[in-house]
């Protein structure tokens, strides 16, 4: 019988199953840039804390306000960069930016991430500041792991590393800014370069 045709059929089935559930246009370069933003942000926060006058950083202090502004700027730049580079890559590979797969990717990424965001805000309300670094790392890591089912699997390892760093940061109090810079900064850059050389540079 027509074996060739059946083999092609199976290939087609695999391709459609992959394409309809996986969004492949996440950009490696944006990972590197996001990592750099995180490192610059961490350096700025370090500088702010070092130069803080007084024993404690209270919610009303200008130092706290500057830290929040820094975090906001880093977050904003990261989201815009990730979106822009992903848009460009999707256009280049003629994959739709907003399709069934990318919707699933975003929704499943956002569920743990927003949970972590709300949790962090509640911690601030309860005046438990020491855990924010760990909590953001852990929930971001879980968001990556959850999203990994809908894109290239590599992001799963990034997520696992963030979760481990988050737990370590809780185990070794007082160094949370360093763990944060390592997770969001250094490992984003490493991940971005790996993705770039593995998939983008062709």
């Amino acid at each position: 019988m027509n074996k060739e045709k059946y083999l092609e059929d199976l290939g087609e089935i695999r391709k459609i199953m992959g394409e309809s559930t996986q969004f492949l246009s996440l950009s490696g370069i944006s990972g590197v840039l996001v990592g750099i933003f995180a490192l610059l942000g961490s350096a700025q926060v370090y500088y702010l804390i070092e130069n803080h006058v007084g024993n404690y950083i209270t919610l009303e202090s200008t130092t706290f306000r500057y830290i929040v502004i820094t975090a906001g700027v880093v977050l904003f730049l990261s989201v815009v960069t990730a979106f822009l580079f992903t848009y460009l890559k999707a256009r280049k590979s003629s994959q739709q930016l907003w399709n069934a797969a990318s919707k699933k990717l975003i929704i499943n990424f956002l569920i743990p991430l927003l949970t972590g965001g709300c949790f962090s805000i509640l911690l601030i309300n309860q005046q438990v500041y020491g855990l924010i670094g760990s909590v953001t790392l852990i929930f971001y890591g879980l968001a990556c792991i959850n999203a990994s089912k809908y894109t290239l699997r590599d992001i799963r390892y990034l997520g696992l590393i963030q979760v481990v760093l988050g737990l370590l940061s809780m185990a070794v109090p007082g160094y949370s800014l360093y763990f944060w810079a390592l997770g969001f900064g250094v490992f984003h850059i490493i991940y971005g370069f790996i993705m770039y050389f593995k998939y983008d540079k062709k």
């Binding site: 083999l7 059929d9 087609e12 459609i16 199953m17 309809s20 399709n99 069934a100």
Partner: protein, 98 residues
């Protein structure tokens, strides 16, 4: 051999129908425009193949309104899943047989 050929489902013996089933097997549901975009086929072509699968009761249609716009989405039925698995098994056996 003949037995295997009998379990090759004639309904699936068409690339677009096979693709529709593949997409619906791994997605809880998909709407018309997403399917169209994924498979790169025309409205009429997609509609006729969907109708064929629907009349075999392999997929079911769900009509609803999102922001007052009609939205039609499809999901695979239990029968459809069983038939699709049988079809894949048969394809594998055919390929492995000498």
């Amino acid at each position: 051999m003949k037995e295997i050929l009998n379990s090759i489902n004639k309904v699936f013996d068409h690339r677009i129908r096979l693709a529709i089933m593949s997409a619906l097997m791994v997605n809880e549901f998909m709407d018309f425009s997403s399917l169209k975009e994924l498979l790169g086929v025309t409205d009429g072509n997609l509609a006729s193949h969907i109708k064929a699968l629907e009349s075999e009761l392999f997929i079911e249609v769900e009509k609803q309104f999102i922001d007052k716009k009609p939205n039609t989405r499809y999901r695979v039925t239990k029968e459809g899943q069983v038939a699709f698995h049988k079809h894949i098994d048969a394809l594998e056996k055919l390929i492995n047989s000498k």
